[in-house]
Amino acid sequence: MNLATTRMQSQVEEFLRLALARSTPRWIVTVERKGTALLRSLVENSKRPATGWTGWNQVLSSEALERAPVHDLQTGVILLLDDGICGGHRMRKLYDFLTDQRGVPRERIRIACFTTHENASFGDVDHRWFGQMTSKRYREVREDVISYFQRNGSLLLDTEHIEVPIRLKCPRLEFFDALCQAGIGVEHVSAAGKINLTIHNPIILEESKYLESLPPGTTIKNAIRKLRVVQRTENEFVIIPIFYPSIPASENRLDTLPPCLSPLASDPEMDFHLVGIFSALHLFKTAFACLRELIQENKLVVRVPGPGDPDDCVSHMRALFPQIDVEELHRLVERLVESGRNYRARRGELNPPLRVEGAQGTKGAEALRKLQWLALKAVAHYAVMSPAEPRGASMAELVRELGSRVSAPKCKAEIEERLVQEALLSAALDKAVDEADLVADVKAMTFVDGVKRMVRVFRFDGELTTSDVVRVASVWRSPNAPPEEVRTSDG
């Protein structure tokens, strides 16, 4: 770990300890996504317990605030936590919601923010580490914080994902190759030097049984579906399955979901997340079926830490789903991991491993960089199309940007090339999320069959940096793209 990151780590930790100790909150409302990442960095990486921290049952994500039961937030101090306030619109929105709609008095609200910009309209901050920062300095600190998150294991990943830690007792490529039997994997290195693997569209074991469990009208076509593998320490990785089928944007029946998820059904957005958790958990089966032999040969150590364990991998779900039964959820994860480990794949059910290198200097790195900008450009394009509501771009829209669906492939090699391109795009999106350029969101979109469905989309993150990225992304063009300006004969 370099000096800048170590310094940032101690500063972030000190800031959080002070904020928690001084406010002793009953509730912590984290501003998605960096606010939550900030808290996770303390909870998951610090060796010392923090005064005022009682567990994830006191945390609410800003995304879940409106869904939180009315009786919650009625007692004790509420700490609003974010990494930085630039304009202050999001913090203002949260503050207004609490005071106006939930009737929480100001004296019960504490606001903690690691950095504040000199032009921030929301200046009523109780705890800050850096204040009155110029745009240049604000940007620098933001970059350092992001780098710190990356070093600690891509903490900017969405909070609603469940991860299972794996300790390697074999070389990394043996582990990666085993996982790549599920689909094409792209190995890339984060700016902080951590190794990541993104497996695009992993196969779904017992697919028909899984599809039957989904609400009617749901489609998995063009859905975000991947296995993310993120390095935590030298020989420790976490597997994070991500899978968001598009469910109808109407009332859905979720009674086929496991009992820890189905009672939480409410609005389409919530249903979308619940189906997403269920689907992602199903991918654990695929991941562990691929790792079966390595586990049997004692080359991997797998455990599913639950509530009470220091590296608890499920309780953080409470931030977004306050009513979720984490004990039951933990048992479900254990069951699926176990069933994957015991799954005997039929001949040909798993693929020969295909891993694409995306580290610096490789062909894949160049492709990743281009695709990352193509994705940002596409997101910028859709933001400009409806500036009032930057709805972001869906996976289908991003794949369309690749232009790979225009003509039919001519041979098997071309098919593979296109699949590799899609896998690289998926990894490029992961990089953009890790670098805090993009965040994932949910929007309703009308499909070609006329059905309106909830879809995972990507939009720009932050306030200050967004404007920079949008500006560059809007004018950036791939060197291979045809000229945009066409000079006609009449001039």
Binding site: L168, R172, E187, V189, N235, A359, T362, K363
Partner: protein, 427 residues
Amino acid sequence: MSRCHAAAIVFGFFLRKRYEVLRKREGVCEGLTKFDADKSMRLLDKLWEHRRNKAPRERQGRMVDFPVNRDFNDKHGHRIAYAAASEPGTARPVLFRPVLQVMQCFDEHSTLSGRLLTQVDQETLWGHVSVLRPEVSAAALMPLLECRALDNSDVFFLENLGEVCGELDDREVIAIGRHENAHATAESILWELRRWTEWAIDAFQALDGFITGSQTNTNFIAEALWQCWSFALEAKKKAALVPDDVYGSDRRFYDSAEEKLCRAVTVSGMDAQTKEEILHSLKSAQRPGCDIWGDPRVTTLRFAAFSCWAFSSYMAGAIRDMTSFTETLLVRRLASLSKEEVRDAFRTVQRCVQVARCQRPADFSPQWLTTQSFVPCELATRLVRPDALWDGSSNLSEFVAPCKEAGTWLMNEHVEPEIQKLRVQEA
């Protein structure tokens, strides 16, 4: 990180790229054989040194060549070796140690994530075989990029070269890895012949001991005979006799490797600059096959290599089928050598011992021997037919005495003068 370790990581990455292409093409590939890995690395060393813009790259502090000796002589041709190493576990200094051995040493002392190679053991028809699976991905090159020992173009070159080398099979990569010019090939053949001489002398002594009863260990004799045979085989393969036999010749694999590499580079999707750079390195580092095997320094060694090979097949093949040796490793190791081939070898040796150094042609081929009409000399007539040994009409001492004489004659007449000639040239 030491320069040796940095180079080992680069070699590991290159091997991984080759391995991945092989695995994809062949469906199942557990790893690369030691010879394959060794010669692939030697090929990389040669091509890396001949890349363009060496001086500016050197000024930037980049790794323009690897800290290896490329001409470390060994059984399967020149190997790359690190200098000034010491034997593991001892303080005994050695001048050079093959890179592959040092890489395995690094692995013993590194963490799992820093591992370069994994040894995978396999049971095959021939017995227990170990292959090496390279474990280095591009992520492992990051420290070298950070300290500017490499830059993006170096990684790009390595990745592309590794992938095109994946188009070669193991015999091709071994051939192009161990040959590059006539001088090195001639030197390498002579090295094999020198080892053949040493093992042949050991085998004669052991056989004498067995006859007199002072040597009872048949496995020791079997080992000497097998070493003798296999060094002769390597010399014959390197000398590239025309036409070649089932064991193949390096010339054939060298030519097909060169052609495949050029074709793979041309049809690959890499950019024109990288294509041009790889082709330039290939042309600068590797002489065409006709230049290597058409050179008099190599052609003059053909007879020596061929006669030693025939002699070894005759001696080892005949002894293999004796009852005293049926329990030895010789039976399995020489399983490919048929009785008919042993009989042929006997007839060839009978002819070879009649060819004096001044009589052999400048461009020798096995057909030349068959076209000559020899009046059998005394030594040729005394050589014992293999069948006579097998059916018991001749005993081992009757077989060994003329055999030893013929072997010594070949050494003195055809092998030693060539070795002396090279020594003089080198001096």
